[in-house]
């Protein structure tokens, strides 16, 4: 903790070494978060860049309460949310994606074969609204009430989006694990 305190203190003094050290320590994890929320790599880079600028600007408000990693992650998520709101996803995703129920639910053993890169790839294939709701609910732990306020939708829509996101993800997971098994078995 004293180490991060020293780095934060250096950043607040405008010390570029400490700024770079802070970036190098957290950039990889936060870039993964950005990729999880972004539609493409360029958008993820923008989220990371804007998020880090906000982190440096708001370091003075960090009160050393709770984990620093959690604090900077929230800033990145909020930056992703702002980007999402700016894009005004106006189309009705329900009309575009007719999601069939999966034929069979994959079991836990199927999940075990998936790596983080596979999971990221699957999650990024989701339509933006589903991806945002799933990320906020399943990964960040926000409630439907909170999500409804965050992205200006009703609680019912949030629940519905989450449900559809889960269906898509299960289907993708099944097809991924199926492909993997085929590849392994030849």
């Amino acid at each position: 903790m004293s180490d991060i305190k020293n780095i934060i203190s250096g950043c607040l003094k405008g010390n570029r070494r400490d700024q770079e050290l802070l970036y190098r320590r957290h950039a990889a994890k936060l870039y993964a978060v950005s990729l999880q929320y972004a539609g493409n790599d360029e958008e993820a880079r923008d989220i990371l860049q804007e998020g880090f600028i906000k982190i440096f600007e708001n370091l003075v408000h960090y009160k050393y309460e709770g984990s620093f990693e959690g604090w900077i992650r929230r800033i990145i998520v909020n930056t992703a949310l702002e980007k999402y709101r700016d894009k005004h996803y106006l189309y009705r995703v329900e009309d575009i994606y007719r999601i069939p129920e999966p034929d069979a639910e994959p079991d836990n053993e199927d999940y075990a074969g998936l790596e983080a890169t596979d999971l990221l790839e699957i999650i990024r294939e989701l339509p933006p609204k589903y991806r945002m709701v799933f990320n906020l609910f399943a990964i960040e732990g926000y409630s439907h009430k909170e999500i409804s306020k965050m992205i200006n939708i009703s609680e019912g829509t949030s629940k519905s989006n989450l449900s559809r996101a889960r269906v898509i993800l299960q289907r993708r997971v099944s097809s991924y694990t199926g492909l993997k098994k085929k590849a392994i078995n030849g």
């Binding site: 020293n6 070494r17 950039a27 990371l48 639910e105 790596e115 999650i123």
Partner: protein, 440 residues
Amino acid sequence: MDNRRANIDLVFRNGLKDYEVLPPSEVWNTIRPVIRKKQKPFIILRAAAMIAVVLSLSFLAYRWSMEISSPGQENNTVAQAPESEAPAGNVPAEVIQPAAGTNVRLPVIADASFQDMKPEISVIPGSELIAIQNIIYQPENGRVLLNNRGTLRQGVPVIGRVVPESINLEEAEPLYQPAIPVKNQSDRWSVAALVSPTYYTNIYSGSDDLGAREISDEQALFSYSGGVAFSYKINKRLSVQSGLYYSSFGQELSGITSFGGFRPYDYTKGDRNFEVLTASGIVYTNNADVFLSDNLSDSRISTRYTNDVFDPAKANLQFLNNSLRQNFSYLELPVFLRYKIVDKTVDFNIIGGLSSNLLVNNSVYASLDGSKYQVGKTEGLSLITFSSALGLGMEYSFTNNLSLNLEPTFRYYINPFSEISGLKIHPYSLGIFSGLSFRF
């Protein structure tokens, strides 16, 4: 079904929990200039605020000195007093009997109300009324004299009586001695003790991008300067000033981690195990017990003990600090000229000149729990450097001999403390000297 769906949440939450993807290198290059740009206005604002404070203080001090040094302005209140309050024909006063031909000493002229003067006004047989128009104020020496050559005009407030035979402008006794000490023109010498907090930094130019990057990451430490100054007044406005000052300043080299207890692992001869590139020259270790590593860059430290050769974590060395502190001290011998631009109770001077600076201390240390752990020295520092200075001096006189001084001063170092190939580094400093001076 719900459980299964919640299960997929866990799969993604746990699977992505510690996932890391290295971002493209250009991302940091786009963040860095934005942060730097956003920091610059703060520096400019700070400097602007400082200048504004100094100018405001100067203005207030000037106004204040003007008010104190112009008692004639207060006399205006007498002159503007309504006639009804001080009728010429109705001077209520006690009658006393002084010796014939004695001058009448007026009470405090600055009193606004004639009523206030009542108890001290004397009426002498054969005396005349004195009008405000016959009061002569001499701004050059701050004295007030009576002139009996004027005639009393109707409607002009009367402030006292005087025996006509006793008044002569040339021989007149001063009626008003100003509270402000009149400076003795013969006090040509003065000695002052001054001290100042100093902000010290560098501006640099050149083609060495790597060097420029290393240097731009160094942070100035709190600096101070103080000493004794002697000055000799050549004429009323111009003085020459010299003296002896001690100044201490330095910078923090962040990102360089230091450890103690390295001596048992030091298998090479000599103490110079590490060299660190800095704006002020190469820092070398002269303490074999110290181990250094750079967390941020592989270009600042030169050593045989690289990470693949020695791991301080495995050796269980004692951690000292995440940064090194580089400190320099100089004895300064200035030769300044002071030109007085305002000569009032608060004097204002323009100060400019040159100073030769002799290096007396050069150390690099790591700070551990408030104590210093000696690491080494900076190599190649010039023993003598020269600096130019420009400042604004404010001087408030308490008495004829004692004054309070406040001198915001900008110093530019003509030759840098050391040379780095491909880079021109121009140090400068800003300080506000304050202290007391004694004239004799």
